[in-house]
């Protein structure tokens, strides 16, 4: 632009009349402005959503106790589970990951239950007096085989049973895993 125009007095016009503005320019500003803002937000949201992409922890085979360590009368005993744990970037060797109840149901037969209540994840207690598992959070009660005892229990499913194995030396190995709380089905986490 080389021709010189006298500067127009701005006050005489009505600058607040948007109709006179070039619509294409406005649309372009909004698009370009929106795009440059969207990129960093999108990058951030993508990273924020990363946990949805990670696989379930799965199960770990853990040696918990030996047959000799379990009472003959079928009373449940509680055991802490120590296993290798990966928490985001850190790998923790042999650290606490949960707990189980183990009880005898026969000479070489056991029942292994995860202590976590399937309702909302509290730990259930074994109440010897009533010979049941009772959840102190919202009063779910379970029979010793893990099935729901009282119809008032809010838990959507029985206690989660875990697989186990007894090796030649009599050691008890448990396939330890956790399941989503609040669901009717057992969904591994």
């Amino acid at each position: 632009m080389t021709e010189k125009e006298p500067p127009e007095p701005t006050s005489g016009e009505s600058p607040d009349d948007p109709q006179r503005r070039d619509f294409i320019k406005q649309a372009a500003s909004v698009c370009v402005g929106g795009a440059v803002g969207a990129v960093p937000i999108a990058a951030g949201v993508a990273v924020y959503l990363d946990p949805l992409d990670k696989e379930a922890t799965g199960s770990q085979r853990v040696k918990v106790t030996s047959l000799d360590g379990l009472p003959d009368d079928g009373r449940p005993r509680k055991f802490s589970i120590y296993a290798d744990k990966k928490d985001a970037w850190t790998t923790f060797p042999k650290s606490p990951v949960g707990a189980v109840y183990i009880m005898r149901t026969g000479e070489k037969a056991l029942k292994v239950l995860n202590v976590v209540c399937p309702h909302a994840g509290c730990f259930v207690d074994y109440i010897a007096r009533d010979d049941e598992f009772f959840c102190p959070c919202h009063d779910s009660s379970f029979k010793k085989d893990g099935n729901i005892k009282s119809a008032h229990s809010p838990s959507p499913r029985p206690l989660d049973e875990l697989k186990y194995e007894i090796d030649e030396s009599g050691a008890v190995w448990v396939e330890f895993m956790n399941f989503l709380a609040g669901q009717k089905e057992k969904v591994p986490v």
Partner: protein, 601 residues
Amino acid sequence: MKKLFDWLDDRTGYRKITKEALYEPIPGGARWRYIWGSTLTFAIAVQFITGMFLWMAYSPSAQTAWESVYYIQHEMKGGWILRGIHHWTAQAMTILLVLHLMQVLIDGAYKAPRELNFWTGLILLQLVLGLSLTGYLLPWDQKGYWATKVATNLMGLVPWVGDDLQRLVVGGSDYGHHTLTRFFALHAGVLPMGIIALIGAHIYFFRKQGIHTKKPHKKKDGMFWPDQVLMDAVACLAVLITVLVFVRMFHGAHLSAPANPAESFPARPDWYFLFLFQFLKYFEGGREILGAIIIPGAVMTFMFVMPFLGGWKLGHRFNVFFIVVLLVGAGYLTWEAMDADKRNPEYQAALVQSDKDSHRVVELARGLGIPPEGAVTLLVNDPKTQGPKLFAQNCASCHRYDGHDGLGNEPADPQSAPDLLGVGSREWLTRFLNPEHIGTTNFFGNTAFKNGQMVKWVNRKLKNHFKNESEMTDDELDDREELNQVIFAISAEAQLHYQAEVDAADFPDADDRKDLIFDSACIDCHNYEDEYEPGETDGPDLTGYGSRQWLTELISNPANPKHYGENNDRMPAFGEKQMLTEPQIGVLVSWLRQEWYEPGR
């Protein structure tokens, strides 16, 4: 719908505010030269957004900072892009700041009545530099750790309160958890808050005085919306694209090896602080305070005074001249610093080494997992990278490894002890027993054993074994085969992983293999499996020759009766004299035996 907006307007008055914000007149029309402030605001917004999301994955502590950044960079989907945008926008911002400052000075926009505008801008400049400085440490990698350490050590130069200041900034007498928590609180809390407050003031003052336009006006007067907004948006797009190109090129941002206080790294600040770093070199010890504090402080103070000089024509010229000289000077110093580094072979070697370490530690973190003590232990315990360093420092003044010092460099001292590449392997022993090799510098050539019994015996007894096969008689070929069997049998004592297959194939029966050694001429002088009383023989014990234990004992004390006893040449007792720790000897031994984690092995 209209009703809703009317209600909203009635309660908030938003229409008037947006109108005022958007319909700001620009005498002379929109121009590209006014874009810099907007691109900076955009860059800051990008930093706030990406920083906030990084924050959700970052963990400021000495054991987790590097680790969490590693996780962002290498394990989280799209993490490298997020981190890359934050890193490269920070770099772009420095350039935009300089351009903005230049435009303001050259156009005279800093003069009365815009002093406050200019001053808030100068403070913003320092706050942004503060963010860059604090951000550089957050990944807690070698690069950021050592560069920041130098910067905080320079704080000690401040008269009277230097030591206390340093201790407060560092959060203790040495770098650690509190250095990171403090730097992070500054980086993500205090400084951003200051920036928000000052940007508010900066833009308020700017609107109060109206835009300062550059004369002559060549176009009709325009409006901020949409003319200037469109230009600004396009400029921001250009900045963003440039940033994304760098993000792509560098796959995010570089992350060097985890900070290791025991292993120095040639400290260099990021490029935009290099000029200060170089400037310091001009001041001898005791006077660095001039270069680090007094002169930069004086320059800043002068810049605050600029608006007063600017009212006066010559003063304005001087201001512009001053800033040009400052930039040219800074540019020259930056070039000088880079050029010096380019020609410094030690610095270049350190860079190559650091690059290797940063690749290796990622390999280890992926393959072995990061222990709770942090990723630095992965490298410290890694034979593949630490072995060569330990060898270069402790062994290479006499020994060689494949002809070099372990790291690929030529040591200053001439070779005077064996080359240890593949020590204990079949190839190594075969060369050792070859009359053409045993007397060379690669074996006993420059040692006290040069004319010892072993060399004499090899020269006397084995001279026909290594002739060209076509020149050998049938008997000689048989002898050679017999020797090979003995060599292989002894080499199997080392239990080298890379020979495990051939060892197992050649010697299915351990006793047969041992008998081969018992029946060999070696046992005339060497002990094996307690054939002799300790000390009864001169040569080293062949039991477990080249194995972990054998090498560990040799390095701990070569003069023990099982090895060289009284005949030991110059080799120091690294273990017993505590020249190396037990784990260090372990790392060296693993490295010599080529035992280390390799992905897919």
